[in-house]
Point group: C2
Chain length 307, copies 2
Amino acid sequence: LAADDALPSWRPGATRDAVVGFLDAAAAVPAERRVAVFDNDGTLWCEKPRYVQEDFLLRELSTAARTRPELAQRPEYHALLHHDQAAIAELGLERLAGALIELSAGLTPEEFAHRVTEFMSTGRHPDHKVTYGQMVYQPMLELMDALRARHFTICVVTGGGTEFVRAVAPDLYGVPPELVVGTLIEYAYEVRDGVPVLLRTARVLGQPNEGKPKVSHIQAQLGRRPIFAAGNSAGDREMLEYTASAGPPSLALLVNHDDADREYAYQSRSATLDEAESIVDVAGREGWVVASMRDDWTTVIEATAGR
Amino acid sequence: LAADDALPSWRPGATRDAVVGFLDAAAAVPAERRVAVFDNDGTLWCEKPRYVQEDFLLRELSTAARTRPELAQRPEYHALLHHDQAAIAELGLERLAGALIELSAGLTPEEFAHRVTEFMSTGRHPDHKVTYGQMVYQPMLELMDALRARHFTICVVTGGGTEFVRAVAPDLYGVPPELVVGTLIEYAYEVRDGVPVLLRTARVLGQPNEGKPKVSHIQAQLGRRPIFAAGNSAGDREMLEYTASAGPPSLALLVNHDDADREYAYQSRSATLDEAESIVDVAGREGWVVASMRDDWTTVIEATAGR
């Protein structure tokens, strides 16, 4: 299949030409160097109005609070259960995230994965009313397939929880668990009643997988330098610049959320960027390829196409 | 190919029957659960009279000391360069290992890998006089191939340095870098003269990959529970017991070094085992399959076969 036939949801133009040009050039690269990394939230699936994992954690909290009402007394849980924005702001994200992580402490990896897949098959996106699994960007799935057809090793490098994304990556993306790099929770190994078990703790292992740690973690877990990277936020900046400098050929692709009609319109900023700059500005300056949702994609989400 | 034709270096008998029985039973297991993990030192290649990586690090030290003679003044390096056993014992392994790790701080992953492959192609095993790459156990290579033919994902889970083993695993074992789990060194990400680089530090990331951490790290890096594990030392105990309880079918295989003529005769003991027990005793008690180098293998090392 020619590269340009494999990307039906990409509108002809400079962006698609750059992608097709990279796919063609990659044929000359030794197979072991054909490594592609994709950020997840906002790059492969929708991250608005909230991260999918945030909705998962809030549902876990609601479920737990039904059988253990005393949980609602804890300030962090109280604020979240009552959508108390003032208290949420005062407590801070780190403390809230830590409290939510505690909810799954003591679960085995299999038990946690089961909760995730249960959520994914029953939960609905608050605005679009389809399942979260249907909020995956069709053009990115086509790009993954085109890379796979060229014998790329396809990896998901997420700021979210590694095990959360692993539970869905094989079905949604065809990516096996070992090729998902994310934020890890420490495990404890115990022999309980003669049976060895691995149990989640409430501690994050190392650093959250955003910014510079994304690059270190790619090397630590995958051991290979990517020549293709796709991202959308300030937390992807280092991964994109590290990848861009691995070529030629190499491709750093930034998804620009500029489609308020079909998805959302926003640009990621962060403390690691100059105040005046968004990640889209950085992409322009660095010469990365920017995919405009509005202009470059004929379809954003298959389930809502044509609405 | 039938399983028993694929293992020519395995002598007919109870051990080979158990291995073949597992290979046959695995056909009924869903493909995503067909995960096999192999310890490296003493399980896939010879670890006597010293670990291969120890020889590598000592050669790195000698090389560095030739151009930077002041290194020899540092107590740890002085002891190692002069084979001063009393000083070595007094300084302790942890401090010596830390000093040796410092020698590769500041290298990129590619530079470090180049040093390893250079060493592997020129270094010689002190007793057998063949290259280190030739000191791989032929029956284990056949077993890897038999598992691969049954669509297993084959992983190396080593107590040694992850990046050291990654540099050789594709060629020696056909195992890609992302399927090597070991002891990790932290990386630092920097942009140097406009070029993004990843540099080795002198810090171990998390815990050394021995004992319980082997199990946690398998889940953290691979995200799947193995149904086959091979090991040879006390540091493999938890990995073997975790794997054994993942079935049926499952296979925990212990390589017993009982062949002083063709390899070495020794049994691993450690503080985590009862004083009176070796890992071979544990295997007997737990019902693991024990491969006797002397009795179960017709060939140990291809390069020295028939000597």
